[in-house]
Assembly symmetry: C2
Homo-oligomer: 264 residues x 2
Amino acid sequence: MSAAGRGRLAVVGLGPGDEAWRTPEATDRLAEATDLVGYGPYLRQVGPIAEHQTSHSFPNRKEAARAAFALDLAAAGRDVVIVSSGDPGIFAMASAVVEELHKESGSDRWAGVSITIVPGVTAATAAAARIGAPLGHDLCLISLSDVLKPWPVIEQRITAAATADFVIALYNPLSRHRPWQLQRALDLIGEQRSPETPVVEAHNVGRAEESVRSLTLGEVSTSTVDMRTLLIVGSSTTQQFTDADGRSWVYTPRHYPGGSAEGG
Amino acid sequence: MSAAGRGRLAVVGLGPGDEAWRTPEATDRLAEATDLVGYGPYLRQVGPIAEHQTSHSFPNRKEAARAAFALDLAAAGRDVVIVSSGDPGIFAMASAVVEELHKESGSDRWAGVSITIVPGVTAATAAAARIGAPLGHDLCLISLSDVLKPWPVIEQRITAAATADFVIALYNPLSRHRPWQLQRALDLIGEQRSPETPVVEAHNVGRAEESVRSLTLGEVSTSTVDMRTLLIVGSSTTQQFTDADGRSWVYTPRHYPGGSAEGG
């Protein structure tokens, strides 16, 4: 099929809430789009849309349907943006879009559509920046959502990450429908790490109601965590301290016991 | 000590090469700075500096000295930016700066200096975006540099990550001084993964000479990898395909065998 009349699709990462963290490529694609497709809260994060733009709000989940809808719009000649918070490739929409392309790779349904993934600042690095450098060494990003993957796979990954002394960033730590998984994950980490291990609890990073604080593994309580929380559990080398101005910091040194003290 | 006369320091992530991926916060801090401090290639990535600005180029390594120099400048009242490529908290300068603060937390040497970490798009998510969504599921970021950490720690982490079926992004895969480590890492992963596992080999992402391609674990050759390469090794579920337009894609589905087919 000819590409004549085909439009384009961008899967755009808005970054965390603050527009100061939205890349120029994301801003440009949003401004040029005729159609914005996304989960309602992410569309609201975009802000007001222009008169020539149409906003298509989807419920959470149903990513496959959202992706196919957006691809069909682009195939019909529209300039479409799918909005994700953070980076679209980290537990977000890019995977669903490419999976839909895969299903139709033998057909012409979406042939000739120009497709771009626009990366963004992901929540873990933004949360880390607010309190120092907890991700300063090898790290794992793990989603605690067991909606799409079996819980035993998550347990195996958490134990492997804790045993090999990775810093661990936990995405989607808890929701009304997944109330017990976070405590179980913390218990598994606690089998390998001291209760004094620094933990960063970050809420609503980049938004007006942001709060980021450091506590210890022994102090973390699931009662203060929700879907908009990101947790970073330190490794055995992660440090917490208060500076001369009373500001709290967390960091993981780039060097590791047994390595040399300086270098790159 | 009073904060009077103290300046400020920002540790800024430029993102990967392309300015379209540099956040407004990074751009603003760079424009306002009186002094830019960094490894030469990162200073060149910033582009031309203004007449009122001074550029302080440091060799690679010696991060501690670079951090202390920048903090001293800020304490003397300057508006200082330390530049990092990508995100400053991922194998970059933020950790060294906070570690220096820690060393002096009992003194007034840097009291009253305003310090900000400005997050950026990290290389792994930018490389992923160029070829689809290889990071679409739980993942590890591992630096293969054994300058600062013992090689056995790296081996343990690679084996743990491969065994628990994480997607693995390898930073700093190889240099003239570390010629054999990458092959050893690939061999360790190969003990757990099929030679057909998709691998993304990304060079100079966001720069004029960018190249990003997909191959398999069995095909990767250390001869085409250098310090500016980022490798992403897929998990057991990572898929590679060519679409109706002949474009190559790699993605890791958000669902995992045994999980439900749709959700969030």
